[in-house]
Amino acid sequence: MVTASPDDGPRPPYEGASVEVPALTREVVLRVAGLRKVYSQLIAVDGVSFDVHRNEVVGLLGPNGAGKTTTLNMILGVLSPTAGSVLIGGMDLARQRARALAQANFSAVYASLPGNLSVVQNLRFFGLVYGIPELGRRVAELLRQFDLERLRDTKCGLLSSGEQTRVALAKAVLNRPRLLLLDEPTASLDPAAAQTIRTRIRNLAVESGCGILWTSHNMYEVEEVCDRVLFLSRGRILLEGDPRRLPREHGTGTLEELFIRLAREPLREQPLEHAE
């Protein structure tokens, strides 16, 4: 596997690591080590290890059933791993669940906010659940930031896909998370709305300093937004690196071609070789 990302210390011993990048001093907001999930007959995630740093957007890519959502669910604490650990902001999720989850938040296309509450009601509700101080001020700030003031009293179930995505993102940053998990945040958006959301999220990583773990099937989007990508297939990380350099390094024209090649390739015990 290729590694091409900064780190603040010793990395987990990734299987098959072939290239090491000099370590930089950047805060790790998520450390996943040896994460594994086994159902009775199925290995959904098989020893996945990676870090996400402050200010960094990491793309988690892979074909359907690769284990992306399973990995996200384990990081969110709604699915317990068979083995391995998840540290959010240095807090062990298994031992300090509430403190770890207080530093994270997420948005996923399959987890829309309760449609029977208005925008402002949802933000107040989740704000209390996250224990946000000065909640009124924070909600007003987010309504402005995500252009939701005009929709504040509209029930979330009545909003368009783009508006729902904005509300979900506002909820996702309510607690100023150090780690933000986004599962296909632009999946149901038109290209213009998706572009706006990408810009907002990219700015979030820069301005708020949070680390973002992002899943998407849109390779154009991944190239535009992500600092680093992890290719997951059959529950294992096959490849890691800069999405703008990886295609050339592996002899493909585009990230999409590389994705297709990896998705169709039988799982190897050895890492992919660099194209010379």
């Binding site: 709604v78 997420f106 399959y110 987890a111 309760p114 029977n116 209390l128 659940v129």
Partner: protein, 267 residues
Amino acid sequence: MRLKPVMGILLRQFYLIRGSPVRSFPMFAWVAIDIVVWGFITRYLNSMAAGRFNYVPSLLGAVLMWDFFTRIMQGVSTAFLEDVWSRNFLNLFATPLTIAEYILGLVITSIGTSAVGLAVMLVLATAVFGLSFFSLGILLVPFLLVLFGFGIALGVLASALVLRLGPASEWLVWPLPALLSPFVGVFYPLATLPRWMQGVGHLLPPSYVFEGMRAVLAGHSLSSGGLAAGGALAAVDILLAGYFFARVFRYAIRTGLLARYSAESTA
């Protein structure tokens, strides 16, 4: 335990009830209908008894107490079902919210919603049908507390069952109070029942309340031991229900059931 997350659960239920007559109406409508129906039945029975026996306190009082118990139970389970119906588990349990905070939020919601029902029942039964409920005196407090405790326990148990068995199992948990009612002697002494049913009844806290209420109304002394047993059973049942919910929750996290609850919504 932190106060803000509990307030969050409470606020969410308040928003739902305030903005929806469909939710606020049943808080008092069905119990009011029960009191009216049973009020007229007791009037009729009193006319047949020609003054030899007053059915109002024993029958209407029992209906009022039983409805209070079912409102408590349904208050907890309905508040939980709001999260099932809106497919909110993933949003909710990927937060720092603890199970204890969540359940406490449901319980406080239930206290609020069932207090409305209790007030409506008391006003109707007293003003229209002449029930002097407060003739039970200070005993009213422990009676209601035991029913409250068991209602909470049954509500938490019902919520755990829905979490474990899936959304469709809500149809299984609604009739739980009706399933228990023959065993607890709401309208008749436990001695009326066959021995095996009496055995079941003695394990259920409401039995001690209704036996005690009938004893007081008949002018007999109340068995304080019986009432204490009812209270102790209710406390144990609350602990058992909380433990059961926590176990089911852990199972749901281990097996992916919790994550699938939301994933189903995209199917």
